[in-house]
Amino acid sequence: MVKTGHWISFGLMGLGALVIQSGLGRLVGLGPQRIMPDLLLILAVLMAFRCEDSRSLLGCWVLGLCKDLSSDAVLGSYAICFGLLGVTVYFLRNWFYGNNWISAMVVTFLGSFLVEQSVYLIGTFKGGLSWELWGGSSMEMLFSAGFTAALAPYGQWILSKLPGLWGRQLKGAPGE
């Protein structure tokens, strides 16, 4: 049985991440390019990493959909990519596990970069993005992935202080 409380805590965290990303992301972005971290992706990765329940996959998809709707990306592109990222992390997490934050940072870094590359690829086919700008955009994605990964341990810390999402959190999960 799905506990409503879990959905509420997920909703509040997702909403908080979305509001901060949209309202403050560019303002606090790094460098003249104002590169911003992807808070929604951090939440998706950590949820898939930490939560015992497969309902966290639904959460990843919902977060991807929120990103689709709050950006100019093609509708469905982030939802698919976040969903696939969630599935990958969910099924391979026992391989990554360790009681340190480095594994989560590495997964977040790779996840962020691959998701952005995939969305860009979809955008070139459908959303009017051009291949000529792929090089510059890739550099930006790399920096953004680094920034996102650097914030992942803080995300872990926050999640470890909040009630578990969708079932108890796994033993040995990063940040425990």
């Binding site: 104002r34 309902r55 959909l65 100019d72 696939l84």
Partner: protein
């Protein structure tokens, strides 16, 4: 135990169907799916506006010097801003002279089209790094249309632009990308540094140069948030750092040429040595915008 397993199976099935739904959404034409963006942004508007306002006030306070003291770099910034505003005024004078000439000859041309100004607040940014797009709190009901030029003001010159009085203090910051849907006051502003942004521009010598020439080119958002101008006709003159970049006047979009920024760097284009690649430094910090003015020529 069995119930929990059933719940897990159901959630996996729902997830699989949602993924299929996403693929279907990908295949749909964009015009069918674009309206949904505006609905979510409108729902989030109160919260994102508050967080953005708070962020702006914090970043503005960090930059403010103690009363009575102005640092050398701040002085230079102020001086540069005053110069750009002067350039805007000069363009207005140029246009008024043309108007005067035309009226004297009792002729009416498209170039003298007047414009009304729609004030809009910035309520949030695009959440993806790939798109430099801001969301505004005005919609089609206010006369906003795709392609309209948007002007912004440096927050340090005042927070609320009042069209007419302070239009010379404003600079081109972008263009309306999508004007939203009926009943939803939300518009997408594509900033100058968005990937793929293009706008015809004119380059003029800067303040210290006693030369009289103009070069035409196309401004482009070129990845990594850079703004470059290519294809400038030099005509025996070299473009230098500090030269002024102006948006070309267009009777349908912008009645008078307005400052975009200044030349930050100028190098020969690697792909074509006959052309210059000019990096543009925008006159306004594009990501610190609080309120903007949309130029509406159809009033």
């Amino acid at each position: 135990m069995a119930g929990k397993r059933r719940g897990q199976t159901n959630s996996k099935q729902v997830f699989a169907w949602l993924m299929v739904l996403s693929v279907v959404a990908l295949l749909l034409p964009r015009r069918l799916t674009d309206g949904l963006d505006f609905v979510l942004t409108s729902l989030l508007k109160p919260m994102t506006s508050v967080s953005r306002g708070w962020g702006l006030s914090v970043t503005k306070n960090l930059e403010l010097a103690k009363p009575g003291s102005v640092r050398a770099d701040q002085y230079r910034q102020l001086e540069e801003r005053a110069k750009r505003q002067r350039t805007n005024l000069l363009q207005e004078i140029r246009q008024l002279k043309e108007l005067n000439t035309a009226l004297t000859g009792l002729r009416q041309t498209f170039g003298m089209a007047q414009a009304s100004y729609i004030i809009a607040g910035v309520i949030g940014s695009d959440t993806s790094n790939a798109h430099r797009i801001e969301h505004l709190n005005q919609g089609v009901e206010a006369g906003v249309e795709a392609g309209q030029i948007v002007l912004g003001m440096d927050p340090r010159d005042g927070s609320n632009p009042s069209p007419g009085e302070s239009i010379s203090q404003m600079f081109v910051v972008g263009r309306i990308k999508q004007a939203g849907i009926k009943g939803v006051r939300n518009t997408k502003l594509e900033l100058l540094n968005n990937n793929g942004f293009r706008l015809p521009v004119v380059i003029e010598p800067g303040e210290g140069r006693r030369e009289d020439w103009r070069g035409q080119g196309v401004l482009e958002g070129n990845g990594m948030g850079r703004i470059v101008v290519k294809m400038v006709e030099i005509e025996g003159h070299t473009v230098q750092r500090g030269d002024v970049v102006l948006a070309c006047s267009d009777p349908r979009r912008l009645p008078v040429e307005m400052v975009i920024g200044s030349v930050g760097d100028c190098q020969a284009d690697r792909s074509n040595p006959l052309l210059w690649e000019i990096q543009v430094k925008p006159a306004v910090d594009l990501h610190q915008l609080d309120q903007v003015v949309i130029v509406n020529t159809k009033w």
